[in-house]
């Protein structure tokens, strides 16, 4: 054998230079063919140049048979199916963001510690002490929210173009499961930073599970999720495992089924007008021309991935305020204005309408089942909007309902906070910045500032804006009283006295005290409210 090798080497060097080059080229070409599952180097260049195949039979189709990665992709789509205004690339974007989430998630797991003692600290570590840590976390957080948007949008696009009919019935069903997995994935990740935002949003979320009928089932599912009556170490670990193992695996499995149906059974639906409109045969023929995945759509997808990740990075670096992180979770104190993640506002809005079991569990479950059942109920074979007016109206109805419920889910809607608490909370929220904390430290001039007796002339600009806002908010309550004093339940303040008192508390620490006194509009009793804030000179500003 060694002799044979030596013979080859000697043979190689006995050849002319051109022959040697040709031999090397052939050897490299063979390697490339093995790696690319059948494409030669010339073929690769032809792909990138947009040239026709260099060999017969078309080696590009062979890749779909021989390569594992390519075998789950179809060989071609019809030209009209790939119109941007037909798909808006929403399925692709959902998948792309799923991939981004998996990659950034794996990177974050390097530092993340799923325990109540370690979680919050590890997020701080990632944000402040790990190179590109903040960017990774922002990408993961913001990407997750975008993924929810894209999946919802994909669902509504499919609905309005009637692309769930016929062969695509089962694909639709798997798609609804993917929506559920996406939302639950996002929600399970919500708890992991272990801050106040996370802790209380998830407390509310799991309490909804608690309301599932019958009570025994509800209680059991709540306990299974939380691992204890309250969310603690056990609950955090459970959510972590759901988030990094079970749900991603489920997502990959269902996504594979979903995409396999598209790739092997029905492709992307044609625009309805091609199937049903009275188009000339020429046009239909043109619409049904094949667009090969390799190279046309593949290069398009690479282009899209570059543009989207580029825009994402630009947005995150220059405009995104940073993934939210409130103070450390405190199981003993629910912060004011606790809210669910925005993609659950519709449920939170529903919850304000009545019984939690009915509104928090039964109605959303009916909603999801109704979505799954859409193609099994809608037997109308027509796909064009004008041929299915009821279905279109039904879709718009639910879309609008979701938006209205979401609006009702905002913390400002329907929650009665006592006015004095509200005013102070708005100016200096328990979590986040607010007007007070945005005032630069040196502008906090010690003194007593009484509402309606303000002398703003010599005050720094931000402090005077803040004081004016406080004054406006207090006087607003006087007007509210004037407006409602003849009502059954008058609201607002009678004869309020309000002041802000700023003192130099320690060398680098100032204390800001809000004080409000007023007469209760219903009883006439004297009421007071006082709240202190301590602001340190070195406190970081956002």
């Amino acid at each position: 054998m060694l002799d044979g090798m030596m013979e080859n080497v000697r043979g190689f060097f006995n050849k002319s230079r051109d022959e040697r080059r040709a031999m090397i080229r052939e050897a490299v070409d063979n390697r490339v063919r093995i790696i690319t599952a059948g494409l030669s180097m010339d073929e690769l260049r032809a792909l990138l140049r947009g040239d026709p195949p260099t060999e017969r039979p078309n080696p590009r189709y062979k890749v779909h048979v021989t390569s594992f990665i390519a075998h789950i992709r179809p060989k071609f789509y019809y030209k009209a199916s790939t119109r941007f205004t037909h798909t808006f690339r929403l399925g692709y974007m959902s998948t792309l963001f799923f991939l981004i989430e998996i990659i950034t998630g794996l990177v974050l797991m390097v530092y993340y510690v799923p325990s109540p003692e370690g979680a919050y600290g590890s997020i701080l570590e990632i944000e402040s002490n790990v190179m590109f840590g903040q960017l990774m976390r922002d990408m993961h957080r913001f990407g997750a929210e975008l993924m929810v948007v894209f999946v919802w949008a994909h669902l509504f696009r499919t609905y309005f173009t009637g692309s769930y009919k016929g062969q695509q019935t089962f694909t639709w069903l798997t798609g609804v499961f993917l929506l559920l997995i996406t939302v639950v994935l996002s929600f399970s990740g919500y708890l992991l930073p272990w801050d106040q935002l996370a802790y209380w949003a998830v407390t509310i979320g799991t309490s909804m599970a608690d309301k599932a009928p019958p009570p025994a089932i509800g209680e059991a599912s709540n306990l299974l999720l939380r691992g204890a009556p309250d969310i603690g170490a056990g609950g955090l670990l459970r959510f972590y495992l759901l988030h990094v193992v079970l749900l991603p695996l489920a997502g990959i499995l269902v996504l594979s089924i979903h995409y396999y149906k598209v790739a092997r059974e029905h492709g992307i639906s044609l625009p309805a007008v091609i199937e049903e409109g009275d188009l000339p045969a020429e046009e239909v023929k043109e619409a049904k021309k094949r667009v090969d995945i390799i190279p046309d759509l593949l290069t398009h997808e690479i282009f899209l991935a570059c543009v989207v990740t580029g825009l994402l990075l630009l947005y995150l670096m220059f405009f995104y305020p940073g993934a939210p992180l409130e103070s450390h979770a405190n199981p003993l104190q629910t912060p004011l204005d606790t809210k669910a993640p925005w993609y659950f506002w519709w449920i939170q809005g529903l919850l304000k309408l009545g019984d939690p079991t009915l509104m928090g569990v039964v109605v959303p479950t009916i909603f999801v089942i109704a979505m799954m059942a859409v193609p099994y109920i809608d037997k109308n074979p027509k796909r064009m909007a004008k041929n299915r007016p009821f279905a279109i109206a039904y879709g718009i109805f639910w879309l609008v309902a979701l938006l209205i419920w979401s609006y009702m889910g905002l913390p400002q809607f329907g929650i009665e906070t006592p006015p004095a608490t509200r005013i102070v909370q708005d100016l200096a929220p328990e979590e986040g910045e607010g007007m007070l904390r945005e005032i630069p430290f040196d502008q906090l001039v010690p003194g007593t500032y009484v509402v309606n007796e303000l002398d703003l002339d010599n005050l720094p600009i931000e402090l005077s804006f803040f004081l004016q806002e406080f004054e406006t908010r207090v006087n607003e309550q006087v007007e509210i009283y004037e407006d409602t004093k003849n009502d059954e339940r008058p609201r607002g303040f009678i004869d309020p006295f309000a002041q802000v008192h700023i003192t130099q508390w320690q060398p680098s620490l100032k204390r800001v005290t809000f004080r409000l006194e007023w007469s209760d509009p219903q009883t006439g009793a004297f009421k007071e409210f006082e709240h202190d804030f301590y602001l340190h000179e070195d406190r970081p500003h956002d």
Partner: protein, 186 residues
């Protein structure tokens, strides 16, 4: 080959095909797999179900008369036991700190003279009764017992109702956080 032709020939007549031995055995295997997986699913749920001891939570809290709030005084929070103590003319209540709506911790609002939940705005009176909001029922109480030398003088029996406070300083008041009394539905 011969059997395939026979089967094809038999198909149009829709002759019933008998279960043969192989099919029976394969069905038995499948069934046994099912019999294994079904309880295994149940076992997994039980495995994940958290463990409690009887009456566990915060255990029992013993309070002396002197530790009780005065009549009408602002509610006194016990963070370890997760309850508020409120006292009226009728007596004293230990109110579970968790809102009956979705598990947030409501706060005492001095200005409004009521409990208000920061999450969805449910409101309750000083006596734990529902006022307004999305909550389905009044607040839950913990069972309280007034005990003197081991003898139970009074015990919470009804939802949302207090036990009397005795003049005797010897009397101990026990808050049993393992025994929750669900509030009256709205």
């Amino acid at each position: 080959m011969a059997s395939r032709e026979n089967a094809d020939a038999a198909a149009p007549e829709e002759e019933k095909v008998e279960i043969n031995r192989r099919e029976a055995i394969n069905l038995a295997w499948l069934a046994s797999l099912g019999f294994f997986l079904l309880p295994f699913g149940g076992v997994t749920l039980l495995f994940a179900y958290p463990r409690f001891r009887e009456g566990e939570f915060g255990g029992e809290f013993r309070l002396r008369s002197a530790e009780l709030p005065d009549i009408g005084e602002s509610p006194v929070a016990n963070s370890e036991g997760k309850f508020w103590l409120t006292r009226t003319d009728e007596g004293i209540r230990a109110i579970y700190k968790v809102c009956t709506h979705l598990g947030c911790l409501y706060n005492w609002q001095e200005q409004e003279n009521k409990f208000i939940c920061p999450c969805h705005g449910s409101q309750f009176t000083y006596e734990s009764t529902f006022i307004q909001g999305p909550a389905p029922r009044s607040l839950d109480l913990f069972t309280m017992r007034a005990v003197k030398n081991g003898e139970v003088l009074a015990e919470t029996e009804e939802p949302n109702s207090p036990i009397p406070v005795f003049d005797d300083p010897e009397v101990e008041y026990i808050v049993a956080t393992g025994e929750k009394i669900v509030g009256n539905p709205v």
